[in-house]
Amino acid sequence: MKIFQQSFKFLAIVSVLFFSTASFANSSTEGGGQIDTKKEVEDYILHHIQDSHDFSLFSYTSDAGERKHVGFPLPIIIWTSNGLTTFMSSKFHHNDDGHVIVEKNGLKFAKIHSKIYELDATASEVSFDKDHHAENAHKVLDFSITKSVVGVLLIGLLMFFWFSRLARQYKKKAIPTGFSRVLEPLVLYVRDEIARPNIGEKHYRKFTGYLLTVFFFIWILNLLGLTPFGFNVTGQLAVTACLAIFTLIIYTTSGNKDYWMHILWMQDAPWWIRPILAVIELAGTFIIKPFSLLVRLFANISAGHIVVMSLIAIMFTLKESLGVVGATTLSLVLSFFITLIEVLVAFLQAYIFTMLSALFIGMAVAEHDHDHAHDEQGQEIPDAEDVRGDFI
């Protein structure tokens, strides 16, 4: 009982300290200049959540007062009014507010908030009107190899290497060795726990390839996002939207007659209710299902990154009130446990995306007039399609 009281006291003290001092942490003076810590932290987190044109590991201010960036540049590939233009992102010198102008192919470019603008011939700097539309410049089509693209390519190559090795080992010895032993149970898990029960015995083989790819792609990219390299690939709307569109295409193209009848002209319903149901079903199939897939993954991963980085930022924001050791300890403990939870979330989100994809595909290929399997007593064994009907 005493331990409870003590830990409760400790919690109370920590929370009082936390909430009462948070408001004082807004500003701190360092090296003579006023630094708004809260603003810096916010900018840093927002910058991390966005995609960027260069691979920046960290930056520091040297003794001479110069800002040094450590990382490597990535190629910028843009479609301009003069056709395809490429140059390295190092030409922007890590500038993100449009002050550094790059000239290439007789055109001038500026980068503002990770967006590249092509300046008009006479302009020397991008200027914005009231609605934040550029007046003397326009955006270009951007096909750059950004940080997220590097992440996707990296994981693509890695997965190709891992799984082709696994396949080769099955051909040779039938028992995988080394790292492939980690992959085998996961592959079996996706096949036996996700694909088979949700899609049904008859059709699951055709879709297992896609489900495995999407599962490992999301899972490994989620885990990559937890490393200090600062990737945030599955937290990009473009990536998750693309994955959701793949699922949409697959379940739309593989739908059978029953499925389309169910959407467009529901049997067993009064005739006047059928058009209303059709509208709802169409909206559900083509908008809500992919939208929920893409937003769930995006929001979970982004929220996770924001939480982890905010907890790391406690180190700086509470430095004045808790002292260097106190703030660092608090931040370390909190961010350690949140990172552990994030490891779980990384798997869970990959699982849920794959699971729901399998479910949607299963709904599209389900056959309704099928015979049930029977057990020894001659009783019907309900299969996954019947169980699914109970909760969908």
Partner: protein
């Protein structure tokens, strides 16, 4: 009040709603598992799917309100 404050109130309401929903799902699934431990696997699958659907709704609302 500024619009940002309304957004935050809305976010709070969404989180309350989602929290109640998730609590219901989790609690009922616990009860189900306690009554019938041999059905744990099926209950968990159904639970996760419904939780995911609810989560999608909540995140959709948060996302639109941003």
């Amino acid at each position: 009040m500024e619009p940002v404050t309304y957004n935050l109130i809305g976010a709070g309401l969404i989180v309350i709603g989602a929290g109640i929903g998730l609590g219901q799902i989790g609690g009922k699934a616990m009860e189900g598992i306690a009554r019938q431990p041999e059905a744990t696997g099926k209950i968990q699958t159904a639970m996760i799917i419904i939780a995911a659907l609810l989560e999608g709704l909540a995140f959709g609302a948060l996302f639109l309100g941003k």
